[in-house]
Symmetry: C3
Subunit: 206 residues, 3 copies
C-alpha cells in the first residue's frame, strides 16, 4: 500500500468519525450515522476524483465503504463516553483536515498538475467533506466560521506540498510536512486563537 | 424501452412533482417550479451518472427535460386542488424514492459494480434529488428527519437488488422487489411510526 | 483568445466579486474572501464542465485561479468604499449571470448539443455559482427569491442563443444578444419590479 493510499484511508476514517458525531448531536439512528459518516468521509475525495476525472476512490476500492460504516457503528455505541462531542468534532476535524489536504495535494502533485491546481485540490479535498457535513446537517460550516483559520490551514498545507516537492523532498516527507503545517495552524487557531485580520468596514454599513 | 429506462422516467417524474410542490409552498413562479422540479427530478440520476462517469441521463435523452417541465406545469395549475401539499410531498417522495433506488441500484448492478457500490448507488440515486430540493429550498432535509426511516429504506431496497440478483432473479423482478421494499418501509415509517432506535446519550451533554 | 474564453473570464471575474462581497458581509478574512470568490466564480463553469465531461476550466487554464484571487484581494481592500454592498452584490450578480449564461449556452451550442441541453447548460452555468455562494454562506438563494425573475432571465437568455444560432447568427452576436436579454430582464426585475405571476392557492392551506 502506498503512503498516499494510507493517507486517504486515514482522512476518510477521521472525517467519518466527525460525521457520525454530528449525527449523534442530531440524534439520528444508526443508518443516519452511516449516511453522514459517508458524506463527510468520502465527500472530499469524491469531489477531487470527479474534478480530476478519475473514478471515485470508493468505487475503485470498497474498503472505504467499510471504513465509514465502521466509524459510524463505533461512534453510535461509544459517543456517550465523550465528555464533549463538540470538542471531539473540532479536534478530529482538524486532524482529518490535515491528512485530507496531504492526500489531495499529494495526488494532484503525483498526477503532474501545476502548482495552482495542486493548491486547489488540497483545499477542495480537505474542505469539501466537512462542508457537505455541515450543510446537510444544517450547522454553521466550520469552513466559514468567523475569526478562525480553516481554509487558510488547507492553503498553507497545500503550499507545503508544492514547496517540499519543489525542493526535491520525497512524497512521504512532503505529505508529513503538509499534515503537520495544516494541523498545527488549525490547532493554533482553536487553542490559541490564531487568526488573520478579518474584514471590517470603517463605518458600519449594510 | 428497457425496464430500467422506464424506472428512470417514473422516478424523475414523481420526484419532479415533489420539487414543484415544494416550489408551490415557497410561492415561486412557473420557472421556479420548473427549476426545483428539475433539480429534484434529475439530481439523483445526475449524481449517479457523474459518479459512474456516464453522460447525465438528460444529456443523452432530452425527454427527461420535457418530463420535469411537464410536471412543473401540471403542479402549477393543479396544486390548489390538493387538500394538503405537505402530505402529497411526503407520499410522492416515498414513491419516487422507491423507484429511484430501484433504477440506481439496477443500473450499478447491470454495469457489473460490486455489491457495496450497488448499495451506495441505490442510496445516492434515491436520496440526492430530494436532498438537493430541501437544501436549495431551505427546508429540513427529509433524509435527516429525526425519528423517521429514510436512508434506511433506500439501503434496504438496494440490498433487495443485490440479494435478488444474487439468487438469479431477472432484473425486472429485482427492481419490483426493490421498489416494494423501499416504499413499504417508508410507508410504514410515515403511517405507522416504524423507526430504528436513535442515538441518545445517557446523561444529556453538549 | 476566442470570444467564448473571454466571456468565461468575464463571468468568473464578476461572480468572484459577488462572492468576495458576500464574504465581506460575513466578516471573513482574506482567505475566506478567496474561498467564496472561488466557489462563486468557478462553481457554474465547473458544474457545466463536469456535466459535459470536460476537465474543469481552471484545471485546463490556471489563469482563472488568478482571476478569482485577484477579485478577492480587490474587494477585501476596497469594499468599504461602497455605499451599499448588498446593492453591489445584486447588480454585479445580474451582470455575471448574463455573461455566464452566454458562456454556458454558447459552449454547449458549439459542442453540438441539442437545444434543450443548451438551455439547461445556460441555466446551470449561470445559476450554480451564485447558488453555491448563497448555500455556503447561508443566505437566502437569489435563485429562489420570491417575486423576482432570476432563473427566468437565464432561461430567456439561453433561448436567445438557441434562436440566434438557429437563424444563422455568428457566435459572438448570439453571445451578445444572450447577455443583453438576460441582464435586461434581471435589471427590469430589480429596478422596475418585473415579475411572473407566482403560485397562489385560492384558499390558504398547508
Amino acid at each position: 500500500m502506498t503512503p498516499l493510499v494510507l493517507l486517504d484511508y486515514a482522512a476518510v476514517l477521521v472525517f467519518a468519525l466527525t460525521g457520525a458525531l454530528v449525527a449523534s448531536r442530531a440524534q439520528l439512528d444508526i443508518v443516519g450515522f452511516a449516511f453522514l459518516a459517508g458524506v463527510t468521509g468520502l465527500g472530499g475525495g469524491t469531489l477531487r476524483d470527479v474534478l480530476l476525472d478519475r473514478p471515485p476512490i470508493w468505487v475503485a476500492d470498497q474498503t472505504y465503504l467499510g471504513v465509514v460504516t465502521g466509524a459510524a457503528v463505533l461512534v453510535f455505541f461509544t459517543a456517550h463516553l465523550l465528555e464533549s462531542r463538540m470538542k471531539a468534532i473540532l479536534w478530529l476535524d482538524a486532524l482529518a483536515l490535515g491528512v485530507a489536504v496531504a492526500a489531495g495535494a499529494g495526488l494532484a502533485q503525483r498526477l503532474g498538475q501545476p502548482p495552482a491546481v495542486v493548491l486547489v485540490m488540497g483545499i477542495a479535498t480537505g474542505c469539501a467533506g466537512g462542508l457537505a457535513r455541515d450543510v446537510v446537517a444544517n450547522e454553521v460550516p466550520l469552513v466559514l466560521k468567523q475569526g478562525e483559520l480553516y481554509v487558510t490551514c488547507a492553503l498553507a498545507g497545500s503550499l507545503a506540498t508544492v514547496l517540499a516537492v519543489g525542493v526535491g523532498a520525497p512524497p512521504a516527507l512532503a505529505a508529513a510536512l503538509t499534515a503537520l503545517v495544516t494541523i498545527g495552524l488549525r490547532a493554533g487557531s482553536l487553542a490559541l486563537g490564531w487568526r488573520l485580520p478579518v474584514y471590517k468596514p470603517r463605518p458600519p454599513r449594510v
